[in-house]
């Protein structure tokens, strides 16, 4: 699924952000494959979306959340953490 399809408070793992034509800044801010991401808020007018990525709180625009692929984390792991 895409990053934009996450539901509030849903956790997921970033899977393919390196292959996409995304700015290097994203990676520098810690948004790399394998990092856990949680959707915290959606802006009142749809985008941007506000995430916890690794240990950074970061808001991302439409052109980015449409690109990044994520793998939802199953419920068991969520409770374990």
């Amino acid at each position: 699924m895409k990053l934009k399809d996450l539901k509030p408070n849903q956790k997921a793992i970033i899977v393919n952000c390196q292959e996409k034509p995304l700015p290097l800044k994203l990676m520098e801010m810690g948004c790399v494959d394998g990092v856990e991401v949680t959707l915290l808020n959606k802006a009142p007018f749809g985008t941007p979306l506000y995430f916890m990525i690794g240990d950074t709180r970061i808001a991302l625009g439409k052109e980015i959340v449409n690109e990044i692929e994520v793998e939802p984390v199953a419920h068991e792991t969520e409770t374990k953490a």
Binding site: P23, L40, A59, L60
Partner: protein, 699 residues
């Protein structure tokens, strides 16, 4: 005695790390604000002295996450570090203890450039609460640079002393960075391939990472590379291969950083409070978040509209008292007039803005300190982005309804220089409070005071329409400007949301003081000069301008004398000479004079008309309105203020750049007259065309 020497140290760090707080702590109020050549990015520097007498000039570079810029502001950091190398002796890197991992990316890049560097880990006061432990000695050993913990926050419990002690300790540690040979990482990554290896022998003294950055970021400085690094310029350049290499670089850097932090940084995750996330659930809520935002904006609005008017009245009265005093104690001559009506009135015209600037920046600094400004961007981006503006542009645009001067200054908080520039350029379109007296009198004159549909007042509706026109033209212009002003950076919305924090009073006060100072001594000087020129033109003229000709058989009243003087002054002559130009808009020379004088402030239009029509008491609109209503064109015999003229004048004032304080502020903020000139001709041209069309169609 030890020899005194001056060191230039650049202050570098990610945004939201308390970099500016640290800068303020170190340099206090002694700072110089300039501009980087050709762009609207401020260059801030300050001074302090070490215990051994070493003087240090600290240069506050814009906040950035890495040396791969994504905006003009971040480009400044790259350029300073690559091209002005010999001017920087060392680097003080500030990092946030909560995000140390990400902060070290930038540190590693700087280390690879071969700079002497030290690391100050800020916000150490929060460590215990958050369950963070750092082995500083080990970190120092691994990074091979001086490392220290600091806190720019004064905590009440252990008082000023402790915080100051840490800052002082950090200051005294600065010379140590020159004794250590900092760790390097890049050369082990094996990313440069044959290209850089091939040219390296030509630049034996340059660190390989510098050549790498020059090569990978060459589109940011083509000329410098062509001239000084021709070999790099002619290397083959394949963007997609390079991007993969740059991504590999980030991954390898994170691997190194993880290795370093594994043995030095401990985080007890169970201590995480999630407080910021919980506050955000309310403040960014679809309904509550917007309501709270509107409430805050209303408060700001209220402050600069209503609260500021009280001290503004004091300033106004204080200076008129001074003028009365001076006039009664000094001989009646030219020099006294220059001092009172020229200089003192000019200074009063500058200081009158101080309450609005103070209050507006008090709010902005508080919101910025607490972390709310980033939330404004988050809430408003979707609305403003189609017009090429930042979410933060809401603040200058709303403040502009009070006055464009503080509003333009408030655009400083916008990080992206293109969005900042556009916000400043379109803010003067917003209907400010100085336009209101002009609107009121003309609407009262040409719009019938009747209700439509039984309850909507027509005059009120027209006034609302004028406000709307102002907003619409600001947004439309910014749309056009965003297409015209080219940027090589594609706009991506990536915004870190800082943690909510209690504001530090000292930081707030310093921000307010910086802005008041910048206005009074920057724009203020230009405003005083302008008002003296305007005063001179309105009170001087060719010989005999102040003596009514002899064919007047009876004595003139004092208000008639004033009217005569203004009409025959240089300004009056100018007003008459522009008559041919403004005739197509429906104006006569009397309106022409009022247009010229209202450059001082738009509301002066009303008082000038009072003088010209020798109504006398300018506080009474009623008299002036009656006089204006009876005024007729001598040739055609038609009303001077007909419906067509009235609408034409209203439209002219919606668009025209009739305020030199705004132009002076714009010049002071952009450090060039270029934008003031462009805005002046653009707005006045637009005003002329719409007023022309309106008059020609309606008359």
């Amino acid at each position: 005695m030890k020899q005194k020497r001056k060191l230039k140290i650049a202050l570098v760090g990610n945004p939201n790390t308390g970099k500016t707080s640290l800068f303020n702590k170190l340099t206090g109020l002694h700072k110089k604000i300039g501009n980087y050549p050709g762009i609207t990015v401020h260059r801030v520097s300050g001074q302090f002295t070490l215990d051994d007498g070493t003087e240090i000039e600290l240069i506050d570079l814009p906040g950035t996450y890495s040396l791969h810029p994504t905006s003009k502001d971040e480009e400044v950091v790259l350029k300073e570090l690559l091209l002005n190398r010999e001017k920087i002796d060392g680097i003080l890197m500030v990092a946030d203890v909560n995000n140390l991992k990400r902060n070290l990316i930038l540190l590693h890049e700087i280390q690879d450039l071969g700079f002497p560097v030290m690391l100050a880990i800020n916000m150490c006061d929060e460590m215990q609460k958050k369950g963070i432990k750092i082995d500083v000695d080990k970190l120092r050993e691994l990074l091979q640079i001086p490392v220290t913990l600091v806190s720019t926050k004064k905590s009440k419990a252990d008082g000023q002393h402790k915080g100051k002690g840490k800052i002082h300790k950090m200051k005294e540690m600065i010379p140590e960075m020159f004794k250590m040979s900092s760790q390097k990482y890049f050369k082990h990554y094996g990313l440069t391939g044959t290209n850089i290896d091939f040219i390296k022998p030509d630049y034996p003294d340059e660190p390989v990472y510098k050549l790498w950055l020059l090569y990978t970021e060459q589109d940011k400085f083509n000329n410098e590379i062509k001239e000084n690094y021709p070999k790099i310029y002619y290397l083959p350049f394949d963007p997609s291969t390079l991007k993969r290499l740059l991504q590999k670089e980030v991954i390898k850097r994170y691997r190194d950083i993880n290795r370093i932090l594994k043995d030095t940084y401990y985080l007890d995750k169970s201590r995480a409070t999630g407080l910021t996330e919980r506050i955000d659930r309310v403040l960014l809520h679809k309904v509550w978040g917007i309501l709270i935002f509107m409430l805050i904006m209303f408060l700001v609005f209220q402050a600069i509209f209503t609260w500021a008017s009280v001290p503004m009245d004091w300033i106004d009265r204080f200076f008129s008292q001074i003028n009365i005093f001076l006039k009664s104690h000094l001989p009646e001559n030219q020099l006294t007039d220059l001092l009172t009506d020229g200089i003192v009135s000019g200074i009063s015209g500058v200081l009158i803005f101080v309450p609005q600037i103070t209050l507006l920046f008090l709010f902005i600094a508080l919101l910025e300190e607490m972390g709310y400004m980033s939330r404004i961007v988050f809430l408003m981006d979707r609305l403003m982005q189609p017009f090429g503006l930042s979410g933060k542009s809401v603040v200058p645009l709303l403040s502009g309804t009070a006055c464009a001067v503080p509003a333009i200054m408030s655009a400083r908080t916008i990080e992206n220089s293109k969005e900042r520039l556009i916000s400043m350029l379109v803010t003067p379109f917003i209907t400010c409070s100085a336009r209101l007296p002009v609107y009121t009198i003309i609407i009262a004159l040409v719009i019938p005071n009747k209700e439509i549909a039984g309850f909507i007042n027509l005059q009120g509706l027209v006034l609302l329409g004028l406000y709307f026109l102002g907003f619409a033209s600001a947004l439309l212009s910014s749309y056009v400007l965003s297409k015209l002003i080219k940027s090589k950076y594609k706009r991506y919305f990536i915004l870190e949301m800082p943690e909510y924090k209690a504001p530090i009073a000292k930081n707030v006060l310093i921000t307010v003081w910086d802005h008041v100072k910048a206005f009074v001594f920057g724009a203020g000087r230009i405003i005083v000069a302008f008002s003296i020129i305007l005063w001179f033109l309105a009170t001087h003229g060719p010989a005999g301008f102040d003596k009514p000709s002899f064919d007047k058989p009876f004595q003139l009243s004092s208000s008639e004398q004033a009217a005569y003087k203004l009409e025959h002054s240089y300004l009056g002559i100018m007003g008459k000479s522009i008559e041919p130009a403004i005739k197509p808009l429906g104006y006569d020379w009397k309106i022409g004079i009022a247009l010229l004088t209202s450059f001082a402030a738009r509301e002066v239009f009303v008082s000038t008309l009072s003088t010209i029509y020798s109504v006398g008491n300018t506080d009474d609109d009623q008299l002036l309105r009656e006089r204006m209503a009876t005024e007729r064109n001598l040739i055609t015999g038609e009303k001077t203020f007909s419906f067509a003229v009235g609408i034409s004048l209203l439209l002219f004032y919606v668009f025209a750049m009739q305020c030199f304080s705004t132009l002076a502020t714009l010049k002071n903020e952009t450090k060039t007259w270029k934008w003031s000139v462009i805005v002046f001709f653009y707005m006045t041209g637009l005003a002329y065309i719409t007023a022309f069309l309106a008059y020609q169609i309606l008359s």
